[in-house]
Subunit: 319 residues, 2 copies
DNA sequence: GTGATCTGAGAAAAGCTTTTACCAACCATC
DNA sequence: GATGGTTGGTAAAAGCTTTTCTCAGATCAC
């Protein structure tokens, strides 16, 4: 039997007797034949491989994104190269070169910050590039979370359960998402309380509560925190002051970093940026581009989702 | 100029005039020529690609291991497929098949637990397999942390700074590493205090302190905790009881999970399992096997390292 | 029975690189 | 000047699939 006949039988292509086809398939299965993807890729110009480039060492954001990508692409037989580049331009270039050598069908760039670029230029590659949760280039396809909507979700929830003096404790003002969330906070809460900018740490959350409670006048009855770590520090500080969460003060976080949010006492109500879904869409998009299907460039904002736990009181909208 | 001449020039092989060689290289650099790794792999039977299989969804252990692997292999031009399989045998098989199709030079299996197997059989593959931080098969090469030595390190440190009543609060007894650490604890601390088995959560650390302090008799002057989360819960509980850390009680964790250990107040002294180094060695080993170099099978225990922060008092051994 | 159509299968090329074998030219040696 | 050894380079094969082309044989219509 010739090689080409076997190939056609296995790929359900060409004309041949159905019993020949079946026989080939059976024998192939018996001997455990698996086509060499390298040879196939050499011919088809598709390697069924993509690269994921990230500077997020701890995987805080990258892992959910990666999970989504992998989830979306495994059905299409696509595998993912993970390259952690740690803000090192030389290392990044090495990894990009290695990926290009290996004929990746596309590259997804992801990071830990919406308003920062990866330290490597991906704009003139001959393979498609999609940006996810990191700043993209002109005319690129970029996926990001809708932080404004997420923040609105949080503050509206606090208002809905009856809170009126909502303070906002968040990260450094130079973060784009900080400004976006603060803007939405102002809009919904109506400037009743100030915004406290700081750093992304528990101790800042702790300190911010000290500041707020040391001030004269009415204390906040709710805290909208810029991330779960700050929220956790705030909850700890409130407990130490004898302020009850959620009875006296509602606290809401951002990120839904389960390891922090779910272990806090009480568990944190928080905003989830749906990073897995973001990864899924990025994966499908880079696949579409690799297959030559047209994709409109631009920034796509994905809505966030509110995760209701116990730190706000109120009732969950469902479940 | 013929193709073969160019190939030999670029690979510094064959005989040719040095000025021809230079000229070829210069032109190659000019036109940005990069050899197709697929075609090269087809011939050399090496894809310069390995697969990393993990069931550790949150990357708690996998990310440092991955970083070490990548770090060790990037110099050799090897890229890494990351496959998260989430304890799903079917998904695992799909990923393994995909990797084999893509002619990976080897596979590293890693997980979140030393005494559990990945839900897929890797024992009869025609590519080398190395296990890292997960249970391997007979005659395989397995890298793991030396939990016994790590625990000894921790308890000896507590003794050295003058603590005499060291309690051990740890995870579920069915974990192999829990038993190993408890064994070392007993050996070094001399059975002065009981071992409290529980779960890997902050709240268990919190509860354990309640239990210990509610009992009559002398209280412990040190806690050796099975991981950083438990330690953190314990520290919180101690603070709530007005017990000062580290003045009254020293607390030591395990894992050096920076995000927990460094954010605890006070920052946790803890045991680092050197997972990055573990990954590095696993990477180099699978590479050696892929290149046909002999490697003795067996389990290799890597020593842990004590990270001294502020939760124990005492002085750091150096720096 | 013969030409036309169709069917099943094999041959060959292409994809890109590396390696081995080979060849032509050159120099030196006797 | 013939021989032998270098030297610098080319031709070809191999690695594994897929696709296109070709071909032998069979079937069918007239």
């Amino acid at each position: 039997m010739s090689i080409s006949t076997a190939s056609k039988a296995l790929n359900d292509t060409g004309r041949m007797g159905s019993e020949t086809r079946e026989r080939v398939k059976r024998i192939a299965a018996e001997i455990g034949y698996r086509p060499n993807a390298l040879a196939r890729g050499l011919l088809s110009k598709r390697s069924f491989t993509i690269g994921l480039l990230t500077n997020d060492t701890y995987g805080r954001f990258t892992l959910p994104v990666m999970a989504g990508i992998s989830d979306a692409l495994v059905d299409h037989g696509v595998s993912v190269f993970l390259c952690a580049i740690e803000d090192d331009p030389a290392l990044a270039q090495i990894h990009v070169d290695a990926m290009l050598d290996k004929q990746v069908d596309g590259i997804i760039a992801t990071g830990k910050r919406l308003d920062r670029r990866l330290p490597v230029d991906l704009s003139n590659l001959h393979v498609p590039v999609v940006y996810a949760f990191t700043e993209g280039t002109q005319n690129s396809v970029t996926f990001r979370s809708d932080d404004e909507q997420g923040a609105r979700l949080a503050v509206e929830w606090l208002m809905k359960i009856g809170r009126r003096r909502v303070a906002h404790v968040t990260g450094p003002q130079e973060f784009f998402s900080v400004r976006e969330r603060a803007g939405a906070y102002h809009e919904v809460a109506g400037h009743r309380e100030p915004v406290l900018y700081g750093v992304w740490s528990e101790s800042w959350g702790h300190d911010a509560v000290e500041q707020l409670w040391k001030r004269s006048g009415e204390k906040p009855d709710a805290l909208f925190c810029g991330n779960d770590q700050i929220a956790r520090g705030a909850v700890d500080a409130l407990r130490e002051r004898g302020v009850k969460v959620p009875q006296d003060v509602s606290v809401i976080g951002f990120d839904n970093w389960e390891i922090v949010a779910a272990q806090t006492r009480p568990p944190l109500t928080t905003v989830d940026m749906e990073l897995k879904e973001l990864g899924r869409q990025a994966g499908l998009t880079v696949l579409a581009l690799a297959e030559g299907r047209p994709v409109d460039p631009g920034v796509r904002k994905l809505p966030c989702r509110l995760i209701v736990r116990q730190s706000c009181g109120g009732k969950a909208p469902r479940e």
